[in-house]
């Protein structure tokens, strides 16, 4: 284990990701992951360790929506968290 001040780039990235999600609790998030179901849109409910709990509005498959999902933050490839003044994630219906 490295000393905190000697964290690898990977560790720093992972921590920064977690920090972003912790800061985003209560906001809507857009996530792409390499594994099924690939896409999540929903509200970040909480972050425990490196797991984000998301109240999911939309995934690629309707039957998996309106459920609470636990997403491993380090398996996320792309994300966007809504912020004041930033672009809004579209509300999707259908």
């Amino acid at each position: 284990m490295n000393h905190p001040r000697q964290q690898s780039v990977l560790q720093q990235r992972d921590q920064a990701m977690i920090d972003e999600f912790v800061a985003g609790v209560g906001r809507r998030v857009f996530i792409l992951t390499p594994s099924f179901p690939f896409l999540f849109i929903g509200k970040i409910l909480k972050v425990i360790d490196d797991i984000a709990t998301i109240d999911v509005e939309t995934t690629s498959v309707a039957q998996l929506e309106e459920k609470v999902w636990n997403v491993h933050i380090h398996s996320i490839e792309v994300f966007y968290i809504e912020s004041i003044g930033g672009r809004k994630i579209p509300d999707l219906e259908g």
């Binding site: 309707a62 579209p90 999707l92």
Partner: protein, 1212 residues
């Protein structure tokens, strides 16, 4: 593990149906243990099918050594040639190729073949002792079979008894770790000799003419004409016409053709094999879908698979039998080519919902055979009086047409008590016995009618007076009144919706007779759909087996419900009731299921739409795009403006390629696009003729596009090409190779996703000669500036590139001048190429083309003209990152064209017309990057002229953007007079840093079909470019025209005088060479040694040479030009079907190769295959009929020891 089989080849009478039709001269492979039993059963049952008379299917596990003791009891030499396995080519090839030992077997003799089943899948085997395609040949008469290779540790049992079996077309496969599954062999074959009970050729009672040739499955067929006889004799089916009940078991009982049985949800595998000799068929399986490549989960989902002779596919239906929705009943499995379907190439997948223990009966009293439940799945419930299970709850009457479904028909009946017991809780119109739609799903409704109206196909007035098309009800009046142009109905929805269609049959109940068709009482119709999820018993729009008849009578409306579970491509729909007679008139359409949350708008007005062949699509998550659906049509039964039939058949009702062609009910024949100068080079130009009437996809530069490719009608193969664009072959797979061509057969559906990199006109075309000649082409127009009648895509910037006004038809045609780049691009490769005419010798027997046109480097021209070099197709190479400038000069001379009057009599095309040979020429490349306005090598739309006149020069600039490998090069100035005479070549896009060397001298080369490719980061590789081509007009040594294919058929005492389809005419070759077997046979009539270099000599076709284990890449191309597809097969070697994708299927064949096809074959294990066996390996056509006989074969010689003339790889 070692497995041993004793296989015997025997002559056998093959009875193919219960009507007693039979092949008196059949042959089959049979296990020794069954030989006497088979002979005895056939002797006792001369007029009924015998279960054991089916193609031999044996099984082994991955990694097994399989030892076959083969015994020949046929009167000529036979053998067993195995595909997709490893073997010593000297001992187990089942042929006598090159300098190998002869491993065919003389009558009465035996041999042992040892093979290794390297990987799971299908190993097709067939005879090469007798390669004749005549009735005296072996393959066409049944001498084929398959070894199915299972996962390691598997075992297999009989689905009826549960006991282990040694052979059989159906088996249950078990594994200690994996689920058990059903395995069914589905072996298509064609052109078998068939007699009726009287020993004569069968006669169609409708036309009173001989029927179509045999097209069947597993030595069985169930033709319409046979069943129709029972109606005509008044035995069954009162009040019916014929085609609408062809597949109806209520009327006729079950067919003799295969019925694949299972329970709802059973995992299943269909091993699809083509054992036939001639046709490319399209396998279609109702209700189910599967991955196009079962080894690649990112491959396309399909429900129709084209399959060519001697090729094969493994089909694992997703979600098991009954698909996601658990639909039970009879799902028809068939060749979708209607003349083949009609003549009997179909069977069924019967999915039961209750246990069958052998005690139950079908409604006609016939016993239902027991069916063991798969051991690791719960057994289905036993049938009871209240719930008898399928088909015994359906209120049909034996001998009469199937009943109509409950609930769905407006004003129709409700549920009987037994039906109510079988129904789902929420039974409703269109979803009664299974419910495809999850609760709460949004429903989108469409009102659709099928109507009849005249349709004009082109500017010259070619028309179908009895066009029959689907329309949305709200468009019906406008279409009938001529206010809206008729086009195939394409409806659009996002995914995750239920689609509810209220379908009304508005057709007249009679299709009138004419030169093409007999009067037919087409009194019912329906809407059969592909891809979406539905209850097959009430929504299939068909009349299959013991199901309901889900069509409606004139004036009736039926409700169908489908669930679009995920984004799908274009799902095909059509009528399944009178498809043979109706569909050529336009009875087809499509639905496109786009990504969820998509919405659709009219590209011209911006208004919201839900249907149209050309729309724009916007989505909040993915890039917006333009969407174009194209439907190819053959058998278009058209009349000219004066009312004369165009290409009528020999008699009405004949399925022998009547009519011409269309795309979206339009065509733009080239014969009408000659200008004042009568030069074909400008046929595609819009400057003189205006735009074609065929679809033009309009977009702005940079717009993403999706092309939905379908074939609406009817029998033939088509080759779709787009010039200047490309797409991922497997759309969802980023590892997929890029392509710009696709073979399509009826019912197949493909989505091509691309974008328009630059403004200009891009040509799309169904590019076989006859299709193109008869007008199957159009444009994709990318504007560089804003135009008033095209709304921009919402997520794209407003186009503001000042490129001037949009060109007009009246403008003079500009010259497409290439601007000089300053500084010049680097690295830059230049080629100085000349096109000229020169005679070519195709083989040592004197077959030659005295009028050939070739492309060659200027430095080679003199040697070619002086006869010091026998020309081969031009092959040039460049590396990724290279800019290539090709300067082309035309030295064509009018006097060296064979038909200066403009009528090219043979090989012929439909609608022959004057098209004088052009002295202009061009060079069009596939796949690599170029600006279509200057360097596409063709004069298209409002692009400038890019052809080259006699004595002129023109430079094209191309950029090698990826290591595409093989890319075709061909002329686009005159598609009638140039390409069949050799005006093509190949461009090989190699990896960056590659150098190219002569394989014999190792000197660097600029051109050549054989090369050693060196690259600092890759092993040295031997590269062989093989160009298979057709439509060649050859003369023999006496200067007489060789009228192929008839002239090449072996063992045909009296060549048939019957006319050969236009697209079968002409000779074939590899790289301007062929080795026609008939020449060899006439020299020495030893049938089984025709491939032997000991008996004859090495063939004229390219001899490929390597040392065992050396890396080898074959660059295979098919630039020209006929619609008949070929299979390419390479003995003893395999490759990944997609050279860029390690997950792709491993193959030893390439199916449905046709104009524009190209593929790179990296031989697994290198020369000699995985086991590196030295010897002579044959590469060849897989078409026994009109392929291999015509000389499409050659030798790959793999040496064990050093040869003086061939330096091994790795030497400097």
């Amino acid at each position: 593990m070692k497995r041993c089989y004793h296989v015997v080849a025997i002559p056998i009478r093959i009875v193919v149906n219960t009507f007693g039709d039979y092949n008196p001269n059949g042959y089959m492979y049979v296990l020794k243990e069954n030989e006497s039993k088979v002979r005895e059963l056939v002797r006792k049952n001369p007029f009924t099918p015998v279960d054991l008379v089916q193609p031999l299917v044996i099984r082994a596990n991955e990694g097994d050594e399989v030892e076959i003791l083969f015994e020949n009891k046929v009167h000529f030499n036979t053998g067993m040639h195995f595909q997709d396995v490893s073997y010593d080519v000297q001992e187990a090839d089942g042929a006598a190729v090159g300098l190998n030992e002869d491993t065919t077997v003389a009558p009465g003799e035996k041999i042992v073949y040892r093979i290794i089943a390297d990987q799971e899948g299908i190993s097709y085997f067939s005879d090469l002792g007798n390669p004749s395609s005549s009735e005296e040949g072996s393959n066409g008469n049944g001498l084929f079979g398959a070894l199915f290779v299972q996962k390691r540790f598997s075992w297999w049992t009989d689905p009826v008894t549960g006991k282990t079996i040694n052979s059989g077309v159906d088996a249950d496969i078990h594994h200690p770790l994996l689920p058990s599954h059903r395995e069914y062999a589905w072996i298509f074959h064609d052109e078998m000799e068939i007699n009726d009970l009287t020993g004569n050729n069968p006669v169609d009672p409708m036309t009173n003419q001989e029927t179509e040739s045999f097209h069947g499955v597993n030595y069985r067929y169930e033709p319409l004409h046979r069943r129709q006889q029972l109606i005509e004799e008044g035995v069954v089916g009162p009040g019916t016409d014929g085609e609408e009940v062809h597949h109806d078991s209520w009327v006729f009982g079950d067919p003799a053709s295969p019925i694949l049985k299972g329970y709802v949800g059973d995992p299943a595998r269909i091993q699809l094999v083509h054992g036939g000799v001639k046709e490319t068929h399209v396998f279609h399986y109702h209700v189910h879908q599967w991955l196009s490549d079962q080894s690649n989960i990112e491959s396309n989902i399909i429900d129709a698979q084209a399959v060519s002779p001697q090729s094969n596919y493994t089909i694992d239906p997703l979600y098991g039998l009954g698909s996601l929705q658990g639909s039970y009943g009879d799902a028809i499995v068939h060749c979708h080519l209607y003349p083949h379907f009609m003549v009997g190439m179909w069977g069924m997948n019967r999915v039961f919902d209750t246990l069958q223990d052998g005690s139950q009966c079908y409604p006609n009293g016939e016993k239902i055979k027991a069916l063991q439940p798969l051991p690791d799945r719960p057994a289905p419930p036993a049938p009871t009086k209240e719930r008898p299970g399928f088909p015994n709850f359906i209120p049909g009457k034996v001998g009469y047409k199937a009943p109509r479904p409950p609930l769905g028909i407006k004003g129709g009946r409700g549920l009987t008590e037994l039906e109510a017991n079988a129904a789902v809780p929420n039974a409703r119109p269109g979803a009664v016995f299974s419910d495809p739609t999850p609760p709460g799903t949004k429903v989108i409704e469409f009102n659709v009618s099928l109507i009849e109206l005249p349709i004009v196909y082109n500017k010259q007035g070619w028309n179908d007076p009895k066009g029959r098309i689907y329309v949305k009800d709200e468009d019906k009046e406008d279409v009938l009144a001529g206010r809206k142009d008729p086009e195939p109905l394409v409806i659009h929805t996002p995914a995750n919706v239920a689609i509810r269609v209220h379908f009304t049959n508005c057709l007249p109940s009679v299709l009138d007779g004419d030169a093409f068709q007999l009067v037919t009482r087409t009194y019912e119709s329906g809407m059969h759909i592909h891809f979406v999820k539905f209850d097959q018993l009430v929504c299939d729009g068909s009349n299959i087996g013991w199901n309901y008849d889900t069509s409606v009578l004139p004036g009736q409306t039926i409700t169908y419900e489908y669930f679009a579970d995920v984004e799908l491509k274009a799902w095909f729909f059509h009528d399944h009731i009178f498809a043979v007679v109706d569909q050529p008139h336009g009875v087809f359409g499509s639905g496109v299921v786009h990504s969820r949350f998509s919405s659709f708008f009219d590209s011209e007005t911006g208004e919201t739409v839900d249907h149209g062949t050309q729309i724009s699509v916007t989505n909040p998550l993915i890039p917006d795009y333009r969407d174009l659906a194209l439907f190819a049509q053959d058998f278009a039964l058209l009349f000219d403006a004066k009312g004369n039939p165009i290409q009528p058949p020999a008699f009405p009702g004949s399925q022998d390629d009547p009519g011409v062609f269309g795309v979206n009910y339009k065509n733009e024949p080239l014969q009408f696009r000659l200008g004042k100068d009568c030069d074909p080079a400008f046929s595609f130009s819009s400057f003189e003729h205006g735009d074609p009437i065929t679809p033009i996809l309009r977009a702005y530069e940079g717009d993403p596009i999706r092309i939905r490719l379908l074939q609406g009608a009817q029998e033939e193969s088509h080759s779709f090409n787009v010039h200047g664009l490309k797409w991922l072959e497997e759309r969802a797979d980023l590892d997929s190779k890029l392509d710009d061509q696709r073979h399509v057969g009826i019912s197949e559906s493909f989505t091509f996703e691309s974008y328009l990199p630059r403004s200009g006109d891009y040509l799309w075309a169904f590019e076989t000669e006859e299709d193109l000649w008869n007008g199957l082409w159009g444009l994709i127009r990318a504007y560089g500036q804003k135009v008033p009648d095209l709304v921009k895509l919402p997520d794209r910037p407003i186009p503001n590139i000042p490129t001037g006004a949009v060109p007009d038809v009246c403008d003079p045609r500009p010259d497409a001048k290439l601007k000089k780049l300053n500084p010049p691009p680097s690295p830059l490769k230049t080629f100085d190429i000349v096109a000229f005419q020169v005679p070519i010798q195709y083989n040592s027997y004197g077959d030659h083309d005295p009028y050939a046109i070739v492309f060659a480097l200027r430095e080679d021209q003199e040697a070619i003209l002086k006869g010091k070099k026998n020309p081969e197709p031009l092959v040039i190479r460049a590396n990724v990152g290279d800019t290539v400038e090709v300067t082309l000069t035309s030295e064509l001379k009018r006097e060296l064209f064979p038909f200066q009057d403009g009528i090219y009599p043979y090989p012929d095309v439909k609608e022959q017309a004057c098209y004088p040979p052009s002295l202009r020429i061009s060079l069009h490349p596939q796949l690599i990057d170029f600006d279509v306005k200057t360097s596409s090598g063709e004069t298209v739309g409002f692009n400038g002229d890019q052809t080259v006149g006699p004595g002129e020069k023109r430079t094209y600039r191309w950029f090698v953007d990826s290591a595409h490998g093989a890319c075709g090069l061909w002329d686009m100035a005159d598609i009638r007079n140039h390409k069949s005479q050799g005006a093509f070549g190949a461009f090989i896009a190699e990896p960056r840093g590659s150098t190219y060397h002569d394989p014999y001298s190792l000197c660097q080369i600029k051109t050549g079909a054989r090369a050693v490719i060196r690259n600092p980061f890759l092993p040295d590789i031997r590269e062989f470019v093989l160009i298979m081509h057709d439509g060649v007009r050859l003369l023999d040594k006496c200067d007489q025209v060789i009228v192929d294919p008839v002239a090449s058929v072996l063992l045909e005492d009296e060549p048939e005088e019957e006319s050969v389809d236009t697209y079968d005419q002409g000779s074939h070759a590899f790289n301007y060479r062929n080795e026609r077997l008939i020449n060899r046979y006439n020299e020495k009539p030893v049938l089984h040694q025709l491939f032997s270099s000991k008996t004859f000599r090495d063939p004229a076709t390219p001899l490929l040479e390597a040392y065992a284990g050396e890396p080898v890449t074959i660059r295979y191309l098919y630039p020209a030009e006929r619609r008949r597809t070929q299979t390419f097969h390479f003995h003893g070697h395999q490759w990944r079907s997609d050279v860029k994708d390690v997950d792709s299927r491993i193959d030893s064949t390439i199916g449905y190769t046709v104009t524009g096809k190209k593929q790179d074959l990296e031989l697994i294990g290198g020369a000699g295959g995985i086991k590196r066996y030295p010897g002579d390996y044959m590469y060849r056509s897989g078409n026994i009929q009109w392929g291999i006989e015509k000389g499409l074969w050659g030798i790959f010689r793999v040496y064990e020891y050093l040869q003086e003339h061939l330096p091994p790889l790795g030497e400097d």
